[in-house]
């Protein structure tokens, strides 16, 4: 029954999102505009100098900064439909384990992040990178593991601030510090991917860290979500 309920919850969220496209559109527009501005600065001078030594550190950091702020727009809307339609109680009345509720919301956020990245990364590569497509494939596990962590902690905190008066302000303030370890690991792994001189074997440790981060956040959600979402 839980699997069926989980799928029903995810399907409903995606149906709501496809009706309005508000989260995805705002995330993509922000990311693309930010990249256009960065692209201008990059080719105006400073970036070219950084790029000249072949290091991927700066493009990797730029990618994740753009990505995390775009993601914030979507994560902040985790319960937007329930708030706007005043129907959060409808979710809470369902005979569904609260962790299933968390998983469904986190899955929707994860799917939004994956779609965002599927659009953003090729554009970013076009603007800033000079890497082969097969090398860029090594970015997929990095992005997926980082996305899982971001969706998990984002969903948790979006629930925590659900009834806060200034939740749009509180969410980024609470979320960004928690994402710092994840962002450092993801940026470091991405640097290795885009740095033509680096071996891809070096990202294994970062992937392990990202997987551990995801596991911890999922465990925290499993242990606390009932309390977080209840009142």
């Amino acid at each position: 029954m839980s699997r069926r309920q989980y799928l029903a919850l995810v399907r409903r969220d995606l149906l709501g999102e496809t009706r309005r496209l508000q989260s995805l559109l705002s995330m993509v527009i922000f990311a693309v505009v930010a990249m256009v501005v960065l692209h201008y600065g990059w080719h105006a001078g400073a970036g070219s100098a950084w790029a000249a030594d072949g290091s991927g550190a700066v493009p990797a950091a730029m990618l994740w900064v753009v990505f995390v702020f775009a993601a914030l727009l979507g994560l902040g809307r985790t319960f937007a439909h329930e708030r706007e339609d005043d129907c959060l109680d409808a979710l809470l009345l369902l005979p569904v384990d609260r962790f299933v509720l968390f998983l469904a919301k986190a899955t929707t956020n994860l799917l939004l992040l994956v779609v965002l990245q599927a659009i953003v990364v090729p554009v970013f590569a076009l603007f800033f990178l000079d890497v082969t497509a097969w090398r860029l494939l090594a970015f997929v596990p990095v992005a997926l593991l980082a996305d899982v962590g971001m969706a998990a902690v984002g969903t948790l905190l979006a629930t925590l601030v659900l009834h806060a008066r200034s939740r749009d302000l509180v969410l980024p303030v609470a979320l960004l510090p928690l994402l710092v370890p994840l962002l450092i690991a993801a940026t470091s792994a991405t640097e290795a991917v885009v740095d033509q001189g680096a071996g891809l074997g070096s990202i294994a440790g970062r992937l392990g860290f990202l997987a551990a981060y995801d596991a911890v956040m999922l465990l925290v959600a499993w242990g606390t979500y009932d309390i977080l979402v209840s009142e």
Binding site: M1, R4, Q5, L7, A8, L9, R11, R12, L15, G16, R19, R20, H81, E84, D85, D86, C87, D89, A90, L92, L93, L94, P95, V96, D97, S230, E231
Partner: protein, 239 residues
């Protein structure tokens, strides 16, 4: 049928599979104690009418019965299940109509009901959905987004949602609000149909209309449930 028994233990009539027993229920919000030892019980199939002034705690009581709020202290069982120990089982037994319709505005009525049917694990839901939509006379608006329905229609849609999974306990918070006369008659019909089989707790400011189905009536005063004349004993049943 048992009565609310302020200050004393309720009679055991609410302990059946569809009944409700509330013993010594308290609940506070910050420093304000809204419920201060509520005792009441409703036998399976009974209808408890809950009256009280604004802020008396009627909605708080209903939300605790629905597991939307945790009880502060005391014991609450709904459909024979403790709301603290097995909230999921309680939710399966409860249909709830609150101040908001609890439906997604962007989705059509049909999409909403299909979602709730899946979430409640209703097998082959098409027939059941058609029945409840017919029951609230919204068949013609089945494919319309809920946002485009009038307030009264949304309230009827909320009833359809609440009845969809055949709850054994129905919790209704001011269900007549926002309904026009035709819809009120429709709700009367639903109460007529459900009462006797479904345990109902109905919170209202307008007791005249649902009084005929009430098996007991309490008024919340100063955080306790006081039986209202003539409805507190077994002779005060349906008429």
């Amino acid at each position: 049928m048992s009565a609310a028994t302020p200050g004393g233990a309720p009679t055991p009539s609410g302990q059946g599979p569809g009944g409700i027993v509330v013993q010594g229920l308290t609940r506070r919000f910050d420093r304000r104690e809204v419920l201060r030892g509520v005792d009441l019980s409703v036998a399976p199939g009974g209808l408890l009418l809950v009256l009280g002034a604004n802020g008396a705690g009627k909605t708080t009581l209903l939300r605790i019965l629905a597991t939307l709020l945790r009880p502060g202290a005391g014991r609450v069982t709904v459909a024979g299940t403790d709301v603290r120990q097995e909230p999921e089982a309680v939710r399966r037994s409860v249909g709830f109509v609150g101040h908001a319709p609890l439906l997604y505005g962007d989705l059509t009525l049909g999409e909403n009901l299909r979602f709730f049917a899946a979430a409640y694990g209703i097998g082959s839901p098409a027939k059941r959905i058609a029945d409840v939509v017919d029951g609230v006379e919204l068949s013609l608006r089945y494919d319309d987004p809920v946002r485009e329905l009038s307030r009264g229609m949304r309230q009827r849609a909320a009833l359809a949602r609440a009845l969809l999974h055949r709850p054994s306990v129905l919790l209704l918070d001011e269900p007549y609000a926002a309904l026009d006369e035709r819809a009120r008659v429709l709700l009367d019909g639903i109460l007529d149909e459900e009462s006797g089989g479904t345990t109902i707790v109905l919170v209202t400011h307008e007791p005249e209309r649902p009084l005929r189905w009430a098996t007991e009536t309490v008024r919340l005063e100063d955080g306790v449930a006081v039986p209202v004349d003539g409805r507190g004993d077994s002779s005060g049943g349906r008429r």
